[in-house]
């Protein structure tokens, strides 16, 4: 009868005491998130109601979040028109968790949800975005779905045919060395598991390193769990979760922590000694092509990107700014910085990080997804190579199939921006 966190969450959301791995459930949804692809969700939603004579109303407008982030401000009339349609729908249905293109409250969906306290421990969260896995950082069971599935959630308030996933337990102990970050841990783990190693499974994170990791780092590791194929990553909620929700997100109401039973049964257990990790890098064109950064040091890079839902938070900008302050980015290398949210942008502005980065030669873009998915800003030229703190390096990801994307931590990105070649920050700036 012992259960993992996700089993407990799914049991509660399905009105049961206990659920087994493989059991098929229809859990109710606590939060349903979309971004610009709400345009497609809307289309499918109206199709469900078509011909029924029933008025098309979402099941609960307070549980739907829509965040514009992928192409902001709009890059084309098509996107602008999609955004306009969504805006009208949001008003008509009284959807309250809506973040439009406004400097003060915009941001990447996976940053906005935790920042505004929309996600709580024990929630079932679905999002029309594969990195919805991020919100496991707050102890929720959170996973990506397609637009038609979301239309079904908007209609029924539950998610059909969820199979209780098996869980991989990852135990991380030890203290990170200098310039080693949660990003290096998750890259290392993806390299070990491979891109499909956790397919249809959940990764539950444990150990001292995770206990001592703040929510920002937890968001990074849960965010990238999907790159090992995982349905979700999850950190069982604890004091840090409460601290974040109270102090950062300003949550006032009750917070109920959900933790796994001590002897819950796991699909497999992986142990990692964080103190032995060195800076990692994911080489083209798959995220599991991970190596210690030393193995590719010296490769010339034309573009450095710092940002995204993986590493566009204040601590990420802080380390980059501290390494670049008073120095200049190498000639022939462009550096693009896009803070993950308006709140982060404001704070980085007030603390002077953006000034230091700009003075070093970085281009500061508005909050949003920016070059991460190669549709809006910062596309690569033929044969160019980028080093990026984002989460995907698939062929064409940064807008050009004949270019290369390497993935790393903000520290590696900043050290490399100074030299113009891939550089291990522990070797100093040469």
């Amino acid at each position: 009868m012992l259960q993992t966190v996700v089993q407990k969450i799914l049991a509660r959301a399905s009105g049961k005491n206990h659920v087994e791995v493989g059991e098929v459930l229809e859990p109710r949804v606590d939060l349903a998130m979309s971004h610009e692809n709400a345009a497609l969700v809307l289309n499918q939603f109206l199709e469900i109601y078509d011909g029924t004579g029933i008025e098309a109303k979402v099941w609960d407008p307070s549980k739907i979040a829509i965040i514009f982030d992928h192409r902001v401000p709009a890059e084309s009339k098509k996107t602008a028109t999609n955004q306009k349609k969504i805006r009208e729908f949001v008003a008509e249905q009284s959807i309250s968790k809506f973040h439009d293109i406004r400097g003060d409250e915009m941001g990447i969906c996976h940053q906005i949800l935790p920042e505004y306290g929309y996600v709580r421990p024990g929630y079932v969260v679905v999002g029309t975005d594969s990195h919805t896995t991020s919100h496991g950082a707050l102890g929720a069971f959170s996973f990506g779905i397609g637009a038609t599935e979301m239309a079904s959630v908007w209609t029924l308030g539950s998610i059909l045919n969820v199979e209780v996933p098996a869980t991989i337990k990852v135990i991380v102990n030890g203290k990170f060395q200098k310039y080693v970050a949660p990003k290096d841990l998750i890259l290392y783990l993806i390299g070990k598991l491979t891109a499909e190693g956790a397919n249809f499974k959940v990764i539950e994170f444990h150990g001292d390193t995770i206990k001592n990791m703040d929510t920002s780092g937890r968001l990074t590791i849960c965010n990238m769990s999907v790159e090992a194929g995982a349905t979700s990553g999850i950190v069982p909620s604890d004091e840090e979760t409460v601290r974040y929700l109270r102090d950062v997100a300003g949550v006032k109401d009750e917070i109920n922590l959900v933790v796994p039973d001590p002897d819950a049964s796991y699909d497999r257990i992986i142990e990692i000694d964080a103190s032995t990790l060195v800076p990692q890098i994911a080489c083209p064109h798959t995220v599991d092509n991970v190596k210690p950064v030393n193995e590719v040091e010296g490769l010339k890079i034309e573009q450095v990107v710092i940002g995204s839902c993986t590493n566009g938070r204040l601590d990420d900008l802080e380390i980059a700014a501290s390494m670049l302050k008073g120095k200049k980015i190498a000639k022939g290398t462009r550096m693009l910085v896009f803070p993950a949210s308006g709140n982060i942008y404001r704070e980085a502005l007030v603390r002077g990080y953006l000034y230091d980065l700009m003075e070093a030669g970085a281009v500061i873009a508005n909050p949003g997804c920016g070059p991460c998915l190669g549709v809006h800003q910062g596309a690569l030229g033929d044969g160019e190579r980028a080093l990026s703190t984002t989460n995907r390096n698939f062929k064409g990801r940064m807008g050009n199939p004949i270019s290369e994307v390497y993935l790393c931590s903000p520290a590696v990105a900043a050290a490399s921006a100074l030299t113009g070649v891939i550089t291990n920050p522990n070797n100093g700036s040469k």
Binding site: V24, E36, N37, A39, L40, N43, Q44, E47, I48, Y49, T52, I54, H70, R71, E75, S76, K78, T79, N82, G127, T128, D129, S130, T132, G144, I145, G146, A147, T148, E149, A151, S152, T155, L156, L160, N161, E163, A195, E196, N199, F200, G229, T231, T286, L373, G374, V375, R392, F394, K395, G396, R397, G399, P401
Partner: protein, 165 residues
């Protein structure tokens, strides 16, 4: 009978199936033109209508990994393609079921371009080579959605039941 028109490697991501730069295009009626936009010969073959319905693409493992973009399914569904792979990434597989794109999980499939395939509930028969391969059936829970004709009619049915109460 279904003919193999193309072979692809492992880990074909949704960025390959439907590049991010076309994401502003969302309607299933408009997405097919961008299928495999960065694989020029395949994109051309599809756009030139050289692939009749039920043409087969054979891929390796982890087909459809990456983004949840449903365009990656609707773009293939637009040509009524059949995708045979060793396995599929979770969200892509679910999207396929929801939209009615035929995805066949066949870990040992062997085929070359031009081979004729016959697909039954549990077997993939390569008529050209004479070999047959086991198909792993979809999880039972998913079958109900397929039987209903996809997630839209399935949800519509549930909606009407709910409203009737």
């Amino acid at each position: 009978m279904a003919k193999v028109i193309y072979k692809l490697e492992d880990d074909i991501s949704t960025d390959i199936i439907y590049p991010g730069r076309y994401m502003a295009t969302v309607l299933p009626t408009e997405t097919p033109q961008y299928a495999f936009a960065d694989i020029e010969d395949l994109n051309k073959m599809l756009n030139d209508k050289k692939a009749p319905p039920n043409s087969v693409i054979v891929a390796g493992k982890n087909f459809g990994c990456g983004s949840s973009r449903e365009q990656a399914c609707s773009t293939l569904k637009g040509y009524e393609l059949i995708i045979v792979a060793r396995n599929f990434a979770r969200i892509f597989l679910q999207n396929s079921i929801n939209l009615g794109l035929q995805t066949i999980v066949c870990p040992d499939a062997e085929a070359s371009v031009g081979d004729d395939m016959e697909i039954s509930a549990d077997k993939l028969i390569n008529k050209t080579s004479g070999k047959s391969f086991e198909i792993i059936p979809l999880p039972q829970a998913r079958q109900a959605i397929i039987d209903a004709g996809g997630l839209i009619p399935y949800t519509r049915k549930r909606l009407i039941e709910k409203a009737g109460k």
